[in-house]
């Protein structure tokens, strides 16, 4: 290989030039992106736009997890799947599209339901986890995985015309640009120690979602992942801040979250959760989206 500069080959300098030009990325940032490994959990409305921008940016390894297969009702928002992909694995379908966009990176599809037995093994292969899932048990599972494995979790969600986004479990000690290396952002359990009652939880299949809404949140998840990988500090990231988007009138607000809880069951110095539990039991809910009763139409 012919290297240009220290590590990046010349083709990469040219191919990624539009982002290398950004002062916040540069050649060094691109080297970090090319070396980074990101796990995207969910190949749906959030995971599709998130992973397509990560692949475009040249993130070296992308894992994409989804147990489900492509349904025709997914396609309005799950932009990596085509009509021909119906009834095939979402993870495989997404991976195929991502490979066609960037043949220089490694894409690993996981057609599995993430659970307490397999999650740590899969997540430990990656540096950053994106929560693009669609149910409460998986969100607590991923939080605890990230707390145990000490990985940042970029958590997006979308329903109807609204979306939410924040970065959980950020640790400054991984980033030498930080002044205070002891800074840690809150985790999901710091803010939400208890799960919501199952009957209060909506789902895209039961309540609907406008396609561009997860599109916005998923793209922002990719942006936060890129910023995190190139070493932006916590003030620039959505650490300890929650973005709330309402597409109904296109309003965004960023609210300040509580700091990390020094007694948190998951992320404190002496956590009570030291291994994964049964999240469907903890949340009294299934780790899959609620189904739509088509009778209501």
């Amino acid at each position: 290989k012919v290297y240009y500069g220290d590590k990046l080959p010349k083709w990469a300098i040219e191919r990624y030039s539009r982002q290398i030009l950004l002062p916040d990325i540069g050649v060094q940032g691109q080297e970090k992106l090319c070396a980074a490994k990101v796990l995207v959990v969910g190949a749906g409305g959030l995971g599709c736009p998130a992973s397509v921008y990560l692949a475009g940016a040249g993130v070296g390894e992308i894992g994409i997890v989804d147990y489900d297969s492509v349904d025709l009702t997914n396609i309005h928002r799950q932009i990596l799947h085509t009509e021909r992909d119906q009834n095939t694995s979402k993870a495989e379908s997404a991976a195929d599209t991502l490979r066609s966009i960037n043949s220089h990176i490694k894409i690993t599809p996981y057609t599995v339901q993430l659970d307490s037995n397999n999650a740590l093994g899969i997540a430990s292969r990656y540096d950053v986890i994106l929560d693009c899932s669609d149910n409460v048990p998986t969100r607590y599972l991923l939080n605890d995985v990230c707390a145990i494995a000490k990985k940042p979790l970029i958590s997006g969600s979308a329903l109807k015309m609204e979306g939410q986004l924040t970065v959980y479990g950020y640790r400054a000690d991984r980033n030498h640009n930080e002044k205070d290396l002891s800074h840690q952002g809150p985790c999901y359990r710091c803010v939400f120690p208890n799960p919501p009652p199952a009957e209060a939880v909506g789902s895209c299949s039961a309540n609907g979602v406008a396609g561009p809404v997860p599109g916005v949140i998923g793209a922002l998840q990719a942006l936060e992942a890129i910023k995190l990988i190139v070493g932006q500090t916590h003030e620039k990231l959505l650490v300890g801040r929650l973005l709330i988007f309402d597409g109904e009138d296109v309003t965004f607000r960023t609210v300040k979250l509580r700091p990390r809880n020094s007694q948190c069951a998951a992320c404190s110095e002496s956590p009570t959760i030291t291994r994964l539990v049964d999240y469907e039991a903890f949340c009294k809910a299934q780790a899959k989206e609620k189904d739509l009763d088509l009778q209501i139409l």
């Binding site: 959030l46 669609d134 979308a158 329903l159 120690p193 209060a200 895209c204 309540n207 609210v255």
Partner: protein
Amino acid sequence: MAASVKLHLQFGGGAELLFDKIKKREIELPALKKYFPDCQHDKWNIRDLLVWIKDNLLRERPELFLQGDSVRPGILVLINDADWELYGELDYELQDNDTIMFISTLHGG
């Protein structure tokens, strides 16, 4: 005796469905002792506000909004765009013109 308090209430993430689907409301609370004659303190706090909301605004299924004397898990309370935990949660004394927001967390993708 403390005066009345004007508040901006906001509901989102689905919490507005329990409140006639109205996301933004301007309310004026009467003097606290007028509304709760037996009350031991002088100023409205969030705990009092939740009772007022239950009495005056909550249309259906209060268990989807309240649990005990607080909000149910999964609803984030924001006082002027900051997590209420930073301000003492239920004990926060409401100030004139505060914006109090109740956001249901979303889990869809």
